[in-house]
């Protein structure tokens, strides 16, 4: 059992990168400055938070178009998908902030600004949790799909640092959503999650991904999507509680089924295999 345990640790620990880890701490401290009534100064090299780049509306429009084209041409350019989300998501982010502020747990998140990174996760404890618990299933998801929570792009073009945090939280919660919805990281799984996210958040980038993603699926997967996975994702997306308002970091011990019930998410009707064949 230890053998099985040690592998994910070694692999996950090797993946531990220093991607702007200082910047992340600063994002949380920037909020404290704001909360204490201090002037939100452009102290991070001209920006409101580390990595922030000031842009004019014209530049944002140009970025949106350019990143959209680039992301369509090469879907593996995650940075372009990220930029598209940031430049088009202003209204949706404001809406999300309102929803989070009206939810007690969401409000706690906005105040405490937790981060999901390998450095903040207690991997040993999570691995020792019983099967069926949220933490254990999340860890299993990371192992099986060979992903790490540290690979999210930083936020650059959102001009409000609280909204920038919400954008970042949305990105970090994405993997947790895969676990909650039981979807693998192949194309079909990603599209299903995108449909859920589009219904939940209203981010234009999710909507775009939801519309264009299916174009890359083969016939049988497309059928699965249209007949069962898609409607399930949409229905659950619209009626589920706001997934950004959940303090996941304090719920690792909770059973996955119970968490789903609390969030009003039905288990998936079909679980697509974790194979990466897109069949496109």
């Amino acid at each position: 059992m230890w053998h099985r345990l040690s592998n994910p640790f070694i692999w996950l620990n090797q993946r531990q990168s220093s991607l702007a880890s200082k910047g992340l701490k600063a994002l949380t401290s920037a909020h404290l400055l704001h909360a204490s009534g201090a002037e939100p100064s452009c102290s991070y090299d001209g920006g409101l938070y580390p990595g922030h780049i000031q842009t004019t509306p014209f530049q944002k429009a140009l970025l949106a178009v350019g990143s959209g084209v680039a992301a369509l041409q090469d879907p593996y350019r995650h940075d372009m998908v990220a930029v598209l989300g940031e430049t088009t998501g202003h209204l949706a982010l404001i809406n999300l902030r309102d929803r989070m502020q009206n939810d007690p747990e969401g409000y706690t998140i906005l105040t405490e600004r937790p981060r999901i990174r390998l450095s903040t996760l207690d991997l040993e404890k999570m691995a020792s949790l019983p099967d069926g618990s949220f933490g254990r299933e999340y860890l299993r998801f990371l192992e099986e799909n060979k992903v790490t929570p540290d690979s999210r792009a930083e936020v650059k073009f959102v001009d409000d640092e609280e909204l920038a945090y919400i954008m970042l939280r949305y990105r970090e919660v994405h993997d947790l959503l895969h676990t909650l919805l039981g979807m693998p990281t192949n194309m079909l799984g990603e599209v299903a999650v995108k449909w859920f996210e589009a219904a939940q958040t209203g981010l234009p980038m999710c909507a775009l991904g939801a519309v264009l993603g299916p174009l890359r699926l083969n016939a049988s997967r497309l059928q699965t999507l249209v007949t069962s996975l898609g409607p399930w994702a949409l229905q659950n997306g619209s009626r589920a509680r706001c997934v950004l308002s959940i303090f996941y970091e304090r719920r690792w011990e909770q059973s996955l089924e119970e968490l789903r019930r609390e969030l009003n998410i039905e288990p998936p009707p079909v679980i697509p295999s974790a194979s990466k064949k897109t069949g496109a």
Binding site: G47, Q54, T56, Q59, L62, G66, A70, K156
Partner: protein
């Protein structure tokens, strides 16, 4: 309109601005008090210079410039085409046209990076060589057997071998250049050397032509680079520098500024995934001396018959000088 563009530009660059360089209207010593000197402040230990619109210690500038070009190397050529809509090719062709190198010339292409100038140089001299051969063959109508046999050893000697040396401080850029050369099937006449323009790894009096295309504004001490250029050139050798310069026409200047600061960083983000490097590049253009001032610097270094040609309304200037 120029004023509002300038404000826009300043609004974008929230860095410590030593002096306003945007808008392309700052002539040397023209609008500022001497105390806020343009690039170098000799305060005891920490001499500082400009990195785009930022002020940095001199020692740091070279490192940061290295990082910029390390990041952009892979997408450098694509970005050049995108940013200039292909016009940079015309500028470089003009450089060769003015240079008019003859077969047998030795070229040193400093900050040559991905090799654009050197490839054109080799093409040009080889074309000249072909022309000369054809002319020589055509002029001799009925050669005697003696003449024909005399020609054979001359062809083997190849006294007209032209050589180009690409020198760049950045290994990534040279790597990309080498890949391009391999792709084009160039096997001879080209060498790739890592070196610093302020301290070239060559002996005195080595080269017929020294070129630096869009590289000299990234050098920390331009005067040192000019002196090195003088050193490595043979007497009679020519110094040629292609660089972004000041646009004189105010309407064109506003359009150019708007395009530079609004569009180019966006292109950098979308194509190369790197906004900040391209922000630096457009800012560094504003910090470089204008045509007349740079001409003065070249003359101070010891070059003679210094002149400049403006391309595209002054967006790019070609400066040329001779070592006599």
């Amino acid at each position: 309109m120029a004023a509002s563009v300038r404000l826009l530009v300043r609004g974008l660059a929230h860095r410590s601005v030593t002096f306003a360089a945007a808008g392309g209207s700052c002539r040397s010593g023209g609008c500022l008090a001497p105390s806020s000197s343009r690039c170098v402040s000799d305060t005891a230990e920490d001499r500082s210079t400009h990195f785009g619109f930022e002020t940095v210690p001199e020692a740091e500038k070279a490192k940061r410039v290295y990082k910029v070009f390390e990041n952009v190397a892979q997408k450098y050529d694509v970005m050049n085409d995108a940013m200039s809509l292909g016009v940079h090719r015309l500028w470089k062709d003009m450089l060769l046209h003015v240079m008019h190198p003859q077969p047998g010339a030795r070229l040193l292409d400093v900050a040559g990076g991905t090799g654009d100038i050197s490839f054109r140089f080799l093409d040009y001299v080889r074309y000249q060589q072909e022309r000369q051969k054809r002319r020589a063959a055509g002029s001799v109508q009925t050669p005697s057997w003696q003449d024909i046999s005399d020609k054979y050893p001359a062809e083997e000697d190849r006294p007209q071998e032209s050589r180009a040396v690409v020198c760049d401080i950045n290994k990534e850029m040279l790597k990309v250049g080498k890949q391009r050369a391999d792709g084009m099937g160039i096997t001879s006449g080209l060498s790739w050397v890592v070196g610093d323009a302020e301290e070239l790894p060559f002996d005195d009096d080595q080269f017929d032509i020294y070129t630096v295309a869009f590289g000299i504004r990234n050098v920390t001490h331009v005067d040192q680079a000019l002196q090195e250029a003088l050193r490595v050139l043979k007497p009679g050798g020519r110094f040629m520098c292609l660089e972004f310069s000041k646009v004189t026409n105010p309407i064109l200047a506003s359009l150019y500024d708007a395009y530079s600061f609004q569009v180019i960083p966006v292109l950098g983000e979308v194509i190369a995934g790197d906004w900040k490097s391209y922000q630096y590049l457009v800012e560094s253009i504003r910090k470089f001396p204008d045509q007349e001032e740079f001409k003065g610097m070249i003359e101070d270094a010891g070059f003679c018959c210094v002149q400049y040609f403006n391309f595209t309304g002054g967006v790019v200037a070609l400066h040329s000088g001779f070592k006599l």
